[in-house]
Subunit: 451 residues, 2 copies
């Protein structure tokens, strides 16, 4: 593989220039900015590299699909997204978010870590293979959607219609980051999510608060309904909520033990004075990755300004997200939530579903994982960290596990990448290593005997 | 008294013109608009009527004090305020809030019911006495503060310094309204209030909600803290909260029974589908007037917009008001609230006090009440309704009960006056009756033998 790795090193100038071009094209799905332009740029770039490219229409932004035919019947899929988070607040950026400025060996831009850097890295690895060897050792398919940052509402339908044609044997997920000790983190799954709005309304209009003596308060209704969901011991009280939670097995625990979570550093970063329930060590890591949550993203009712306004608000709204772990089903949890509220006397509290996603995970013993880990050892010279799950959520289930496709996430970010925040960046040294990693994954995965 | 009552009728044109002039002078304490001008107008008008007037300075807006010396040593105090509520939302007014337009026998203006109409009515009654009889049968003192609509923060200190000089034997409180059956309501007291902000903060900044698995949520902290204050049975759970609640006695119950509360009409007005705990009849009225409340005026944390934002907010704020009944003490309740939160493990929830006011009440058997009721029978020809307490709050304790001064509220408003709302109005027929009522109160109260 030295020939390919050397080629990659020699072509970094072009690769960085291409990444800058990608980053200079805004593509903000939530704001509808630059989406068609970015899809077009991705299509042209893939086609120039030799891919057969198609913009697959969806109910929202199209999915860019690019195929490179290689040797044999095995197919490796790269999942990426060409949309980025909104760049605001702009005033906190040291250089404009779409300027793609390079300073001190870092490229700063909205979306460079999440995940245009990865899209470009994967393409650079494929190009190196083609330039040096003339042919890929397996088929490669790029799937780049335009709606990851707005919840991937159309990736499931896309997969339903196309996965049987694409026939991937494994998938490299969109992004990845080095940890605080500069070790690559490889993620094998993601939590699911059920995001809901809970709404209580008891009055036609806001009233003088003297009337609180005799009419129902929607704020109190919602406080009591929420209290019935979770108490200070953090145990979620919806009957059956934990029924499908699969506890970590011995392999998961070994991975957790190998994962060095920077407890003290994270506390400083969070501005918190301690972890929930006083947890630390293995129980903390297990709770982070293997336990579901019931979080209040927002609660709004009545007056919130300075001083006194003695009002009885007509309506109250709570926005919740439940992060779900394998094998919880967001639709099942929704039913249980409704039944629990009804049984508790809160039939009047309305539920609006905002975003269900299934949890996903790939077996740590899957050959894809072995290939990604082996490639990482070669590319980085440092043992990578394998995380059995991410604490966050992504549409991995819809594209991969639902169809029996193993997936692993790895990428060119680092612990300071600040994805979703101002001054998002990657380090160019990480970019080189990340491209080599992908080239080596292609090699390792193609060498596996087909199952 | 026919001579005085006839004089009042014959001078209504001047009285209405003066009321329009008062209403056309904005005086919005909360916004600092027109306050000096309105204090000046009140001073000039009182002085022209023959009063000895003083603008007594306070830490905020001055109190206008106007004295009319009469026969004997008895003194009747009229408490009013020259500030008004902000007029917003302006677009809901059918005529500009400070135009003081007359339509269909009603005068529409911000503050006309609450309570410039009453200030003008009381002055007109005094002028009628002076014009017809040459002298008042008792001393009259006007006390008009400029901060009632912002919580009367300086009325207590004013009373402390001045009440011994003013030496009132009784007080007519600022406002009053006819009920849905056009019967004058006379109020003998007001609930007190403790308004507090409760704040929880657990994080240095908003975090990605995946972190809810391992760090404390301020929204949940506040939900649990609030739940510990009151459950769905509406019983307030702070130990000792009800210790000083004086239950209604037989006289109170008789007054409650005579008070016709329009249950069905109010529900329509509230847009509610029923009363709290299914109450109706006497228990509903008793709860409205004689039970304290713990109300959520506002609750704000995190995201409240459309769609999903999976955030773990750094801070949560709840704004509460406790309406207090005799003999609860807002400072005592504050201590008990703090102790209860501490004992429940919520020492981290901060309390900021926004506005404490004591509850107040005058003995229904007080001679002042008899005088006000007797005068009402003569002025209105309809038996008035005596309410032992208002469900709302006013600074009556600070100016009256604290010094042993009996007080009763009566005024020129009606059930549709919409005080604090757009299209505030009084009916000019009610204004005439209200002026006569005051003239008759002066007569009745002066005739009482001094206690």
């Amino acid at each position: 593989m030295d020939d390919i790795l050397t080629y990659i090193e020699h072509h970094m100038q072009d690769t960085v220039a291409r990444l800058q071009a990608f980053c200079r094209q805004p593509s903000i799905a939530a704001q509808g900015v630059g989406m068609a332009e970015m899809a077009g740029l991705a299509r042209r770039t893939l086609a120039e590299a030799g891919a057969q490219v198609e913009l697959v229409p969806t109910a929202g932004y199209p999915v860019v699909v690019g195929r490179f035919a290689g040797a044999g019947s095995k197919t490796l899929m790269f999942y990426n997204h060409y949309d980025v988070q909104p760049p605001e607040p702009l005033e906190l950026w040291d250089s404009p978010p779409f300027a793609a400025e390079i300073r001190d060996g870092r490229l700063y831009a909205r979306g460079v870590a999440d995940n245009k850097g990865n899209l470009v890295a994967r393409l650079a690895a494929v190009e190196a293979w083609l330039a040096v060897r003339g042919k890929l050792p397996l088929n490669v398919v790029f799937v780049a959607e335009g709606e990851e940052e707005i919840g991937s509402p159309n990736l499931g339908p896309f997969a339903e219609e196309n996965i049987q044609t694409l026939r991937p044997d494994g998938c490299i997920w969109e992004a990845g980051y080095k940890d605080t000790k500069d070790r690559l983190e490889i993620s094998l799954g993601a939590k699911g999510i059920l995001a809901v709005d809970l709404r209580a309304r008891t009055l036609g209009r806001d009233l003088h608060s003297a009337n609180a003596a005799i009419v129902k308060s929607p704020a109190w209704r919602l406080i009591w309904a929420l209290d019935s969901l979770k108490g200070p011991d953090e145990r979620i009280l919806i009957p059956g909520f934990y029924d499908d939670v699969r506890p970590p097995d011995d392999r998961d625990r070994a991975l957790l033990a190998a994962w060095s979570f920077d407890e003290a550093g994270q506390l400083v970063e969070f501005g918190a004075d301690g972890y929930l329930l006083g947890l630390s060590g293995e129980p903390l890591k297990e709770k982070f990755l293997f336990q579901p949550t019931c979080n209040v993203c927002g609660f709004h009712a009545g007056y919130g300004g300075p001083g006194v306004k003695t009002v009885l608000p007509a309506e109250a709204l709570a926005k919740l997200d439940f992060r779900l772990v394998p094998d919880q089903d967001p639709y099942d949890i929704l039913e249980k939530l409704r039944a629990h509220l009804d049984a508790g006397g809160f039939a009047d509290v309305e539920i609006e579903v905002e975003g269900p996603e299934f949890p996903s995970r790939t077996d740590p013993g899957d050959p894809l994982v072995a290939a990604v880990v082996a490639a990482a050892r070669l590319a980085y010279g440092v043992e990578p960290v394998v995380k059995p799950l991410m604490a966050g959520t992504g549409p991995m289930y819809e594209l991969c596990q639902r169809w029996g496709v193993p997936a692993a996430g790895a990428g060119v970010g680092w612990t300071g990448s600040r994805q979703h925040s101002p001054n998002e960046s990657i380090r160019l040294d990480d970019l080189v290593q990340g491209i080599k990693h992908i080239a080596l994954i292609i090699d390792e995965f193609s060498a596996l005997s087909c199952s």
